[in-house]
Symmetry: C2
Subunit: 340 residues, 2 copies
């Protein structure tokens, strides 16, 4: 049983981009397990846009991480010691954890992860832990896609975006993805089957949308905000829906991100805009997992993980999210025996 761990602790609230010294990487002793606790060896840490929100004391959907506390993350790990009835050594758990290689927990916020047949832990955790259900409920519950409609998804090659686009195709939509750079754009069209891609780093998003969606956009799965969002909203059709999943373009902003509301357009075109956070759908996870695993088994849904090694570089990897440096769902593999 491990008696020490390595952990990232939040030391001050980042101003803008996360900088050296905002978090510290430490080695520390772990106490003995109390009754009802178990020790999780963390195998993967999920790096998500929302991590930056958790570091800030601006209004969020959960309390921020306290100064001095271990940085919060979604994790997957293996039980290496247990004093909790019903939790056995060797089992895999995933859920809310910390940027560390081990944690002592009473299991709150964690669920046992039984690997679906044929899926690696990286795929099951990366695609099904948060991003798959986020894409699933955001698109299906809020976006309400109908065959023949036009769906636009931003951050399209990222963890959530790639799943949104493929579910859109499964539902019969015409899918346009917005991504940064020719490689990602080729990937979402050639590998994932999107109908078209717009490279926001090299193309005029509005002009390309005019070409690709001359009859308007029925669903905008919004993850980015700012000018890209404005360009999409300006081209939405009557009765269009916009699941508002994230606003990553502004997460590092010192001033809260904001831009014109395009309200007259929301009114005249009868648009529906709905903010959502996947935690609200926790009770309905099994529904999403069942369909997602089924589509994966049928070969209709592929997911790409961007797996980085080295817990000591976790914060650096996280920062790359906000500049589009990842390609697929970003994970840190904490332990070389992660798949074992």
């Amino acid at each position: 049983m491990a008696t020490e761990r390595q952990v990232w602790r939040l030391r001050r609230r980042p101003v803008g981009e996360i900088r050296d010294g905002d978090l510290t990487f430490e080695r520390e002793a772990l106490p003995d397990l109390a009754e009802g606790q178990f020790l999780l060896k963390i195998l993967y840490i999920s790096l998500d846009p929302t991590n930056r929100i958790w570091m800030s004391d601006a209004e969020g959907y959960m309390p921020p991480v306290g100064l001095g506390e271990p940085m919060r993350a979604l994790v997957a790990g293996r039980v290496v010691a247990s004093r909790k009835p019903g939790v056995a050594e060797g089992e895999i758990y995933s859920g809310l954890g910390v940027f560390a290689d081990a944690m002592i927990t009473d299991g709150q916020g964690l669920n046992r992860l039984d690997l679906p047949k044929g899926l690696s832990l990286a795929t099951a955790f990366g695609a099904l832990g948060m991003v798959g259900p986020t894409a699933y409920f955001g698109l299906l519950d809020i976006g309400r896609p109908k065959a023949g409609e036009t769906l636009v998804v931003s951050a399209a090659s990222g963890g959530v975006g790639q799943v949104v686009g493929q579910i859109g195709k499964i539902k019969g939509c015409r899918v346009i993805g917005i991504a940064g750079g020719p490689e990602k754009c080729r990937y979402i069209v050639d590998e994932l089957g999107f109908d078209a891609a717009i490279d926001y780093k090299n193309e005029d998003v509005g002009a390309r949308l005019d070409e690709l969606a001359p009859n308007g956009i029925d669903i905008n799965f919004e993850q980015v905000g700012g000018e890209i969002m404005q360009a999409v909203v300006a081209r939405m059709s009557r009765f269009g829906r916009m699941p508002l999943c994230g606003l990553i373009s502004g997460y590092n902003d010192v001033q809260p991100a904001d831009w014109p509301g395009q309200w007259a357009l929301v009114l005249m075109r009868r648009l529906t805009i709905q903010g959502f956070i996947i935690l609200d759908y926790f009770d309905r996870y099994p529904e999403a997992i069942r369909d997602l695993v089924g589509w994966m088994a049928e070969g209709k849904l592929k997911t790409r993980q961007d797996v980085r090694d080295g817990l000591d570089r976790a914060v650096e990897h996280l920062n790359s999210l906000y500049t589009g440096g990842n390609f697929g769902k970003l994970l840190v593999r904490v332990s070389p025996d992660a798949e074992g």
Copy 2:
């Protein structure tokens, strides 16, 4: 049978407030009725915020009124001659018409209005023609009020606002109205039973909302836009709903009205914002009318009409809407025998 009529025609698109010469008031001959047409003597014209939208060639939810055409309005009138089978002299029709004292029509956009027992034509047309159903569907379908929730309605003493607040009370909400001036504020509290009123002309809307809704706002029935809307949205609760019914503060703006979208807040609090136009609910009108008439008969729903005489002053009366000069649903009584 009338062979002449008086009519307002749109001559140029207003820039900002409607000015002399934007519309002209004319006397003109009417042709004979063709087969399938009838002649409606217009008794009431409904003056609505949306009239200004119809004058503009900025994007709207219907095509704008063409230059040289009679100005569009909701009207109620009596059939004085008919060559249309099934339409008889003396019947009352209401629906889409024009700023005039008579019109020849094939009946498109009009429905026969059978006066509910005990209601005057001004009340039935004013309260049930457009504003009642707008309040009904916007609040119930989009706002989804639950007993104990806090509802804020702007333009609260206007045609739609007064009905929204009273339906909110019927559904068990705590209702805060925003209106201009102490008389309107007293009216919505003392006469209509709102829980509280905020006088936006004399009070700090945000500060008063903090006092009156310390636990947040669950539903914002939005009709105004601009700073008032921002103040309300900033205080909305998690999972709050915002039926977006109108943006009257900007209808006279030369530049399209716009202000920050408060998007981070929409996301973090999982707000739902939905633009709607009552025309979309036309098929469901009977449902609204049945409930509204029932509530009126039970004394739970009062409506106030602001009836002005003089078709020749219709445009002047309309302008008063945009400065809050009306008190209740604004109507022009075109003919002195309107109730006859």
